[in-house]
């Protein structure tokens, strides 16, 4: 449509048209936005880490966030479930809507948000408990106590994380005895156990070997049937392999956000092009 034409002529598109262009690119699929970020700014004390970020995250797709170290991509991810506020000096402005509800609203409960927007971290961080207790942790704290139900949840979640067959006889072993790749998939299962809507993944494969990485990547592909996934990655090939849409961050700004194929083959911004062609970062 016309926006695309405009955009080709002019690199500095205004945000509104940029968003429309995004949804335009998705017209063939359902362009439902599960998370809408508007004019998000974030400061650590007096250092600004995010500048006027606008981004609409599509439902049941994989959205990758790429960019050099320190560009704010992890900060942005952690803002989506308000984990970033664990740092006491953080201040934010702007708006993030999850299913049309403002998550920065004072009445909006962080705990509720985090059951809807789950997270998988960079380093596998299972609790020093059994595999079973790890996966059952979330359901338990939210009041699910019945053994038969927990058994089913644990099985389903471990199957969902493609690790049930490896671990079904080791459910009561300490998760610390597992390999890094298995631990990470247990962590994914733990996140799945509360049946979230969105899963945030913060460089989930950066501490894993290539085979484990491949397994996690494959898993991400399966998970997008049911979940909306936002994944931060250092690895551009990974972003290209597994994501539907890609966002490129630089120095706290969202430079470009488009369909992955589009962004990698035909970047609109010079800085995106420089980054993906390896000229810096």
């Amino acid at each position: 449509m016309s926006e695309v034409m405009v955009k080709k002529k002019n690199n500095t598109v205004n945000k509104a048209s940029k968003r429309e262009e995004n949804s335009f690119g998705l017209q063939k699929e359902k362009a439902n936005h599960i998370i809408e970020v508007n004019d998000l700014n974030l400061w650590y004390g007096s250092d600004q880490a995010l500048y006027e970020v606008n981004m609409d995250v599509p439902e049941k797709q994989v959205t990758a966030i790429i960019g050099p170290s320190g560009c704010g991509k992890s900060t942005f991810l952690k803002t989506l479930n308000r984990m970033v506020e664990m740092v006491p000096v953080v201040k934010t402005s702007g708006s993030i809507k999850y299913r049309d509800q403002e998550i920065f609203n004072r009445k909006y409960k962080q705990e509720y948000l985090r059951t809807k927007v789950g997270m998988v971290f960079q380093k596998p961080n299972p609790f020093p408990k059994s595999v079973y207790d790890n996966v059952a942790y979330g359901p338990r704290i939210h009041g699910i106590k019945k053994k038969e139900i927990l058994d089913q949840i644990v099985e389903k979640s471990l199957k969902g994380a493609a690790i049930w067959d490896e671990l079904k006889d080791r459910l009561h072993e300490n998760a610390y005895g597992l390999s890094g790749g298995q631990q990470q998939r247990v962590c994914i299962a733990r996140a799945l156990a509360v049946e979230p809507d969105v899963i945030l993944m913060d460089e989930p494969t950066s501490a894993l070997d290539p085979i484990s990485t491949a397994k996690v990547e494959e898993l991400v592909q399966e998970l997008k049937e049911k979940y909306s996934i936002i994944i931060v990655t250092h690895n551009m090939q990974q972003a290209a392999r597994i994501s539907d849409k890609t966002a490129f961050f630089l120095n706290g700004e969202l430079i470009e956000f488009a369909d992955t194929d589009h962004l990698f083959q035909n970047p609109q911004d010079k800085r995106t092009e420089d980054y993906i062609t390896g000229r810096f970062g």
Binding site: M83, E111, F121, F127, A191, V194
Partner: protein, 315 residues
């Protein structure tokens, strides 16, 4: 740097300098060789002392047990050495009563303080409170003893008018205050060393702060916490000044904390500072009681070591 070197016009050869310095190092090499022996000797001091104490205990206790049968000593329930009755149970009972009261005071208070400091306190609050807490540990126990006798007992008497001047309650209470910093500080260290990644994982699943503390941090720090408690208890068992001053000198096999009692340690003070003649049965009984006390604290220390090894943090 570069400039100054150039201006001096000297040229360097690092390898040459190392070479020429090497010739001077024969003394250094000797020191290098002597150091491990020296360090070993220093470490040996404590081992030799322990062995020496044990040896003395055993020798003198054997002397005692040739006068008083070991069975009477451990099964008798009367301790009145000046009239020849040597049943140690009242002293053990006194020690255990004091330890129990102290534990009831120190463990909940210490754990709560540790949780507050490690999980809830702001950096600023922690920086003020923790040193203050540790000052408590530096107060001489004789001061605590007077505090128990002249402040805590009158205070308790306000609520319990029948409370005697010497009683197990205020002695035990103040021993509890004395060991509190130990529980708080060591438990706080244990909680602090629980990796943040575990807290993040729990928050990420929608845990509240309390759930993170109770379900993640405390279990992960469990071994450190238990070790701190056991160590604190073993200090309470061995505590002397406070109970000598505040808890009385009445060997008394009782569970009633308002009565005056005597602990093993307080008896040792009493007998060692009184006019006990060398070689008398009472004199030797010091060693038998001391030995018993030693076994108690030794067992507690072994338990602490066992627990911290067995449940070693697996994160």
């Amino acid at each position: 740097m570069d400039k100054s070197l150039q201006s001096e016009g000297k040229s360097f050869n690092v390898q040459q300098m190392i070479e020429s310095n090497k010739k001077k190092t024969s003394i250094g090499e000797k020191i290098e060789r002597i150091i491990p022996t020296l360090l070993f000797l220093c470490a040996a001091v404590s081992v030799v002392t322990t062995v020496g104490i044990l040896f003395t205990f055993l020798r003198e206790s054997i002397g005692f047990f040739s006068d008083v049968s070991i069975i009477d000593f451990y099964t008798g329930s009367q301790w009145s050495p000046w009239s020849g009755e040597f049943g140690v149970a009242p002293l053990i009972g006194g020690t255990l009563l004091i330890t129990l009261i102290a534990t009831i005071v120190a463990v909940p208070l210490g754990l709560m303080s540790a949780i507050f400091l490690s999980e809830y306190a702001s950096d600023k609050a922690r920086r003020v409170i923790k040193p203050v807490l540790e000052v408590l540990a530096g107060i001489p126990t004789v001061v605590y003893g007077y505090f128990a006798l002249t402040f805590v007992t009158p205070m308790f008497q306000f609520f319990l008018p029948d409370l005697g001047i010497f009683n197990a309650l205020s002695g035990g209470f103040v021993v509890g205050i004395m060991i509190l910093p130990m529980v708080a500080s060591l438990s706080e260290d244990a909680m602090n060393s629980v990796p943040n990644a575990l807290r993040e994982a729990a928050y990420g699943l929608g845990s509240t702060k309390l759930e993170v503390v109770v379900k993640v941090v405390l279990p992960a720090a469990f071994s450190g916490i238990v070790a701190s408690i056991v160590l604190a208890i073993s200090r309470a068992i061995g505590e002397t000044m406070i109970v000598t001053i505040a808890a009385g000198a009445t060997p008394n096999l009782t569970l009633n904390p308002t009565e005056s009692i005597q602990t093993m340690t307080a008896f040792i003070v009493q007998a060692a500072t009184g006019d006990t003649s060398f070689g008398s049965t009472i004199y030797y009984s010091l060693y038998a009681v001391g030995m018993t006390l030693f076994v108690f604290t030794l067992v507690m220390n072994l338990i602490a070591q066992y627990i911290s090894r067995k449940f070693r943090e697996e994160y």
